[in-house]
């Protein structure tokens, strides 16, 4: 009886105390949400920032680019995130949503590039392919004799006789993933555009063009393997004829097990992605609420740490983690924009 009574009062006391606490005092810890692709980089910076400064280590949540921007644009105030990471640029609709909820000045910070690789087991040969072959092998509908038909290709050699005579089997991320969006946009649409018949459609029937270019086949040749890229690497090791789609950092970490396909003659190496020769690479960003700078302590210092030469520079610690740095000139512009907190203009 008495034990229970004291438990009850304790619970009530904790609750009331904390409720009173949280609503009274402002947050003293930076809150970051967003893309799971930027997550490894943002967390590395956050950890160093926490160790190097007197500020608390920022909390970084992995919510996906879209989910992060939704939280970010929910409004200003300390119960909304200060920064959101994105593996794609913010959309106009999202800027409008932000503005509607009172989030006016957003600072865009580009952090670098990320390559998307098509990999297979080291036990097989390196695949040499171009984006057109990728499109023909993986699209739902492909042009045959001037007509769009459901993808008839079963073997890589059916697509292009120079490719190996093995069954098409590609493991990739599900549609909720930013990696999938980028792969579809860069590799699939890139290949799609090289086919005159579909390219002509872009001007006449934009909807059909997008549908043809962006739809991946659903007949079992492309397998949605979930968001966990480590799992794809393990599956590739077990199945040497399969290919997998994932970010460059996983290839970098698992170079003893898997190898990246050469796309358009360029291997997915650090140098090729950085120079832009490797065609399937995307920019990574994060967005900052200008209204929170100065309110939540440490944001300006965190931005300075992220955009320092030590971090996202050519030899910075983020490059160690698999981020592909930007060229000098571009980097300077980003550093300037961060210093002046230049708001985003679409």
């Amino acid at each position: 009886m008495t034990i229970k009574n004291s438990m009850l009062t304790l619970a009530a006391a904790t609750l009331t105390a904390t409720v009173a606490n949280s609503s009274a005092s402002a947050r003293d810890q930076i809150n970051i949400v967003g893309s799971s692709t930027v997550f490894p980089f943002a967390t590395t910076v956050a950890e160093r920032f926490g160790k190097n400064t007197e500020f608390k280590t920022p909390v970084v949540e992995s919510t996906g680019s879209g989910g992060g921007l939704k939280l970010f644009c929910a409004g200003t105030g300390t119960n909304t995130p200060d920064i959101t990471n994105a593996s794609r640029r913010i959309k106009t609709s999202e800027v409008e949503l932000c503005a509607k909820n009172g989030v006016k000045d957003i600072v865009e910070v580009k952090v670098g590039y990320d390559g998307i690789v098509l990999s297979n087991s080291r036990k097989s040969d390196v695949l040499e392919i171009d984006v057109k072959d990728i499109f023909l092998a993986l699209a739902k509908d492909v042009p045959v004799d001037g007509k769009m038909v459901p993808n008839p290709y079963k073997m890589w050699s059916d697509v292009n006789s120079a490719l190996p005579k093995v069954k098409i089997e590609v493991l990739g991320p599900p549609p909720t993933s930013g990696t999938r969006d980028a792969f579809v946009e860069l590799a699939m649409e890139g290949g799609c555009k090289t086919i005159d018949m579909i390219k002509a459609m872009k001007n006449t029937d934009k909807k059909a063009y997008k549908a043809y270019c962006h739809t991946i086949r659903e007949d079992g040749m492309f397998v949605e393997a979930g968001e966990n890229d480590n799992l794809i690497v393990q599956k590739l090791e077990a199945n040497p004829v399969a290919f997998g789609i994932f970010g460059y950092s996983f290839l970098d970490q698992n170079s003893d097990k898997v190898q990246g396909a050469k796309v358009g003659g360029n291997a997915p190496t650090f140098e090729n992605i950085s120079s832009g020769d490797y065609p399937v690479s995307r920019s990574l960003y994060f967005y900052v609420k200008k209204a929170h700078v100065g309110v939540v302590p440490g944001i300006a210092e965190f931005l300075a740490e992220f955009t320092s030469e030590d971090a996202f520079g050519e030899d910075g610690y983020l490059a160690e983690k698999g981020l592909i740095p930007m060229p000098e000139g571009e980097m300077e512009k980003v550093v300037d924009a961060v210093k002046n907190l230049t708001p985003l203009s679409m």
Partner: protein
Amino acid sequence: MTDPDSIIATGRSPRHKAELRFRAYGIAAIIVSLGFLVVMVGAIVSRGTGAFQQTFVQIEINVPANKVDPQGTRDPNVIKKARFSSILKKAMRQRFPEAKSRQDKKSLYKLVSSTAEYTVRDAVVADPSLVGETSTFSIRASSDVDMFMKGNIDPTLEQSRRRIDDKQLAWIEQLRAAGQIEKQFNTQFFTGGDSREPEQAGIWGALAGSSLTLLVCFLLSFPLGVLAAVYLEEFASKGRINRLIEVNINNLAAVPSIVFGLLGLAIFLNFFQLPRSTPLVGGMVLALMTLPTIIIASRASLRAVPPSIREAAFGLGASKVQTTFHHVVPLAMPGMLTGTILGMAQALGETAPLLMIGMVAFIVDIPGGVTEAATALPVQIFLWADSPERGFLEKTSAAILVLLIFLVIMNLIAIILRRRLEVRW
């Protein structure tokens, strides 16, 4: 076939055989499930034990007074601001002077953890007499070196296919010959918070977060659940409303946990404006989830108390409240506690509801209270399993081991409490 004579005529042997067969099926079922368990636990243990050890490198470092503390104040705040990365790099170059080219130096620095500068800094801050001296520091090897020392990197592969290059191999050999590289027990794993560097990452932050979350969950759900069960079972009239409530509680117990997370997001975060990513909100959401389980278990154990106990108490003139709280509830308590701990164990393994309230996050600082940002054990396992670095593979398995041990301890408590409090009649 069915007349008694023919059954007697066939004798006992078919029935006997049927019984033997059934026993064989039963034993086979147990062996198969035990086999799965052994394979699972075996795989986790064999992968995870590596995480309990960490490779350390002994290196002589000169901490120059003019760089670290030019005024000679020995003030920790001054020492903290010094650039220890360059001091460490210099010491590395002195140890291996053959590293001349930029590329070689880069490989050299990669032998030790990128967090090593903080290890040196913290050691000097803790003992300012080290300033101006040259002393030997034991610092963490990088995860790649650690993986190599644990035999997870094959040095016979060609250089481009492994994360340790030939020069690094030679340096490691030199260190090994001099006895300056060795594996030690990894205390950091049990006392540290999360980190992006596998060699630095620890489970304590997640363990503390889980404990705080469960504490809040227990403080809310146990009293509420027990009181609700006592009222419904002992006091409420067994009418239509009571039945309706019972059906609803049973339904709630089967609701997917993510729904409670969404509820928590809408009510606790958006309406009551409670802080995101905290054990307070996590515990509240998990309390909602475990309440039905506790109510159902408590009601069942109250029902199991024989009516003769109540009748005897009434017969001696006890009131309803006295009967209930002096006689019935103490007898039902072991069952209630068991139900509660099983509910807690279920809550311990949840990630889905925590996703919605922001506890699936990278958090380095160890939470000190229920309103500080924290993560939980299963979330930590998920985050590590998703990381590209090879070193996190063993950490993931080790974290699963810790979670399993936590669960076993909770279930043990349930068994002990039941043994202690149980009354036989």
